[in-house]
Symmetry: C2
Subunit: 352 residues, 2 copies
């Protein structure tokens, strides 16, 4: 890989539930992978804490030429965006965003407060030309497949045009992460026939049909189609997406613990589970949310990736890999021209 394709990611190392040491462990894990090793990271946060974490991890070898950007403030999980923007200007999160803004990094990664990350990202980087509102996108693993859900909470009061933009951004992201060229896009609704759904989804459907030359739009889809493996990008507003994401995460966790509890009830069941452990291992690997732990705010002038506050080293490592892929993809201008072309199509249709 030549230098021109190398990217630099600013990593806000503060605010992880498991602490800075675990966070650095995730970064080290990523840097050991061939796909990451050629790239640069800048660790943003308290210099002493970072240096001590690097020593504890015996990670000097992997992070020997890493740059530490000192930031003496930290945004807490309970800080309100307006408060943070006013009072925590030198926080690790905002410093990392500014490195992207100033061209000193090609993207940033944080597992801190989502509301502050969204506010800071939007205010400092601004939305891409032609995009009104950013959208938070996440990949959801399912057996043999995975789909992108967009938006999962950035914009709870979407317009139909916001939903069209979600479709473009989500499809571009899916291509970036999964390498699938024309991902299948569906609009999440409550019926697939013309005229079914809310006013918002009906209008978004009308507009999306105009863009079928540019997006592989399959039409409205219903909740039961999510896990059927024939949709790659599921488009919805941030209210529906947020509820849906948290509900299915919660259901997955609850059922997992429940199965475990039922199995631990007697020695025969435990023995059975040991014999069948290969199955459980395969299931865990395929459905492990850490495989896709980073969620990007799409539609900004720069790559901003949110990682779970409780991410494991595996999760942080996946999120960093994702930031690198996204930073690469952001360098080609294909997305900007697509947005411009689709906005022209929509404007023409609306003035006709």
């Amino acid at each position: 890989m030549n230098n021109s394709s190398d990217v630099t990611i600013a990593v806000d190392v503060m605010g992880a539930d498991n602490g800075t040491v675990a966070f650095i462990a995730g970064i080290v894990q990523a840097m050991k992978r061939a796909s990451c090793a050629a790239h640069q990271v800048k660790l943003v946060g308290d210099r002493d804490q970072i240096q001590s974490a690097i020593s504890k991890q015996k990670a000097d070898k992997w992070l020997c030429d890493v740059e530490i950007v000192h930031a003496d403030q930290e945004i807490s999980m309970t800080d309100k965006p307006m408060f943070a923007l006013k009072n925590k200007k030198n926080s690790s999160m905002f410093r990392a965003i500014e490195l992207v803004k100033d061209g000193q990094a090609d993207g940033m990664l944080s597992c801190g407060n989502t509301g502050c990350l969204m506010a800071g990202g939007t205010l400092k980087l601004r939305t891409m030309p032609g995009i009104d509102r950013p959208a938070l996108c996440t990949m959801i693993p399912s057996p043999n497949h995975q789909f992108a859900l967009i938006d999962v909470g950035a914009n709870p009061s979407s317009t139909a045009i916001n939903l069209v933009h979600n479709a473009i951004l989500g499809a571009h992201y899916y291509t970036t992460v999964m390498g699938v060229k024309y991902p299948r896009v569906g609009l999440l609704s409550i019926g697939t026939e013309e005229g079914k759904g809310s006013d918002l989804t009906c209008e978004a459907h009308r507009l999306l049909k105009l863009c079928q030359g540019d997006i592989n739009y399959l039409g409205p889809i219903e909740g039961f189609q999510l896990f059927e493996e024939n949709i790659d990008v599921v488009v919805c507003d941030g209210f529906v997406g947020n509820i849906l994401l948290k509900s299915i995460e919660s259901m997955a966790k609850t059922v997992k613990h429940y199965i475990k509890r039922q199995i631990m009830k007697n020695p025969l069941r435990i023995l059975g589970a040991i014999l069948a452990q290969g199955a459980f291992r395969d299931i865990k690997r395929q459905l492990n949310p850490d495989r896709f732990s980073g969620a990007p705010f799409l539609g900004l002038n720069g790559v901003v990736i949110k990682s779970h506050g409780s991410s494991t080293a595996d999760g942080i490592s996946s999120a960093l890999e994702l930031a690198i892929k996204s930073a690469h993809a952001s360098k080609d201008g294909a997305l900007s021209s697509l947005i411009e072309r689709i906005n022209i199509t929509i404007n023409q249709a609306q003035t006709e």
Copy 2:
């Protein structure tokens, strides 16, 4: 049980995916239970088909004094409500609703076309005084608990007052089915702090707080709280609820098949699963959707229960039991007075 507490349920036996024979098997199964045996059913549909199904089931003993109400039309799953209302006046579904309207039955049960059932129920029975729109409610099983989700699709464009009514109707229903006196009610949103959520949920939250003397309203809840077993009634609009219900049903089905496929991959895993089969049996029993297979349209002047088109005999039997419980509960006037009282509270607050 004396005669005054007996109820009569009109059962639309047409339109089940598994055919009339399977449907009748479910009814017979219910009639064998002590909780159902004292009550009456009227089977509504094609007389010949019903009689032949009864003979095939050797069910004469259990259905000896059953009344068959002949209806020569059947509503298909693809019929549009307007078309059905105009052209299928003598359909089994509409005849069963009319039996409720005319006081010849205390409730009705159908596993036919949901849209037609909703349209027929609303048009023929009308909404209860003080209620603008009916809501479709369903019970969702979770480990050690179950919650009611209301609305799952009857009213996709709810107002804040509709959501307050959903809370009252859902809480009353939960008490009817589960025997819990002051069920804990939560408003599904995307944040629990004041001011978070959509305009709709913020306004509904303001109104629901006024009703806390009458409803055990705990405030807004997020998706991750659904399966945490501390909420009994989850209130949302029909758009969000429909997407959520179908998504979690689909996820449950997909994961179940996936686990089975992984286990069947080799003999060691199969042996393990056989040893641990007690755990799988317990899980299946607890999370079996057939336990709560009927979903009532609440807020109508009469009991209308929708059962899954693909219901098994177990599912139909649960749905009939539910119809009987609901018909009982509808006989006391407590719900009507509660609605009246809460509407006065809300009107006063809005004119102040």
